[in-house]
Amino acid sequence: MAEKIFITGNEAAVRGAVDAGAKIMFGYPITPATEILEGWIAQTVTDKSLQYLQTEDEIAAGFGVLGAVLGGAKAFTASAGIGHVLLQDPVAMAENMRLPFVGIMMQRGGPSTGTVNFSQQEVNLAIHGGNGDSFRIVYSASNVEEMYSLVIKAFSAAWKYRFPTFVLGDGYLGKMKATVELKKLLKPVESKPILSESGAPTWLRNCFSSEEELNTLLNNHITDWEKNKNKIVESESFHTNDARYLVIAHGLVASATKETVLKMRHERIRIGLFRPITLNPFDGEALRTVARGAKHIFIVESAYGQLGTIAKAELAGHNIKAKISQISKPAEGFTPEEILKEIKKHNA
């Protein structure tokens, strides 16, 4: 049963969390993610099974999420920018202890306080922000509808695979209002208490005395990651069948690129778009499939090569002959026309 409504990305994220079975949110206000906290708190007024805590900082919010998760509740937080930086501490703990964690990060300009508007600069942070080996699932939403559907997916993935999971949005996506179709999940994944309440006690730690002990644990994480990453990866290939020109973009920039692709197709230019939906793990296989026919690849992002580094590593060593151009505009958005102009300039 699909319902069609007119809402903002932040509101869609709240709906997603509710429909995924989340029971409690911990958060600290930060633009442009504040409306997720506000929207969730509004839900708790009418639905008494839902709880929230507005914490003293994002670190407490993240650790509060972990506490609730240990108690068996689906919990989450939302933040952005410098708040996202602070959250990396509890997320690293979740990564070590394989605790499900969901964070919705509405990217804003950085580094530091930056701007409150828009960027795609939190990709590296979401993937590599911990002092570990980056076993995090990172989704990138490209429209308001995905702010709903990917939040639901994030809860499913986090609880199923037990890796911390981020949904990356941005300030535009959070504040913009659009008509969306909410496809409800029939059966949200189950959540059980992780700390025992009867029987033999569970003793959980993330600190170990010897290198060998920790290395053994991490090898188990690696095995799980490698075993499951092909089940997690997601991407979209848009008009790529005969594409001689290929754009790689994610999030809202990828949405803009779709308009560019359609315009250029109108001019009979054989161009397509590859859009990673998961930035980590990354659907390299799908990218290489569409890249093989291309003679020129354009990586377009509102950051200085964060997506570019990932994509280039996936393409390297696979006999892909296309020329690769990086088109970066850190902390600023692209209109479809700008992307078109940039592509033509680089292809001149």
């Binding site: 409690i24 003293e56 407490a60 650790f63 700390l195 309440e197 006690p201």
Partner: protein, 238 residues
Amino acid sequence: MLSTIPKSWNVKLKPHLFCPGCGHGITFKQLGFAIDGLGIQKEITMGVDIGCSLLAWNFLDVPTIQTHHGRTTPLLVGYKLVKPKRIVISYMGDGAAWGIGLQNIIHAAYRNNPVTVIVINNENFAMTGGQSSYTTLPGTITPTSPVGKSPELGAGFKGPELIRNVAHKDAYIARTTVTNPIHLLSTLKKAILAQKENNNFALVEVLSICPTNWKTGAKASLDMAFEMEKTYPIGEVK
């Protein structure tokens, strides 16, 4: 049958990992008796912080989670929200409580989150080798105060007295010492009951001893702990 330990200790992992003469052991003795005495072992969920506290990650025969930097408190605040019937104990040293994680304790006390926080004040960063802490008294020689801690760096951080000023009116705040196990036991019991019976925040600072880093024998360690009471008075703070 004569027993040397509380029932709630995890007997399989004894001897425990704390040093000879460590105040953590004395505190856990009385914490164990408090839990035994109140008959609440099955209701307890324990959180231990980083530093020597983490050596207690499987000390008691109760579910336990280890975190760091004083975040044990917000983690247990989160846990308690979804498991209101559990009795949660947040156990940490003075570094986690009065330094890096201070604001988490302040706000848990301010909001009156029903969590019992136990702070072991041994006046140093013990696990990293005895460096100067906020609670280290002026003049003390440590690896980070090689000529004695300067009085300009503070006269000794009084955590409970600070928290008292912002804590919720019903919060329980007290200080006790390992040199008086009977007082230690009764204080710990009150702090647990504050949570269990009245759903209040509770904080107990325990003046402790650290023979390894203080480089003191049994008698000198206990004497030093008595000396600490001049700066950090024992009793109910709130």
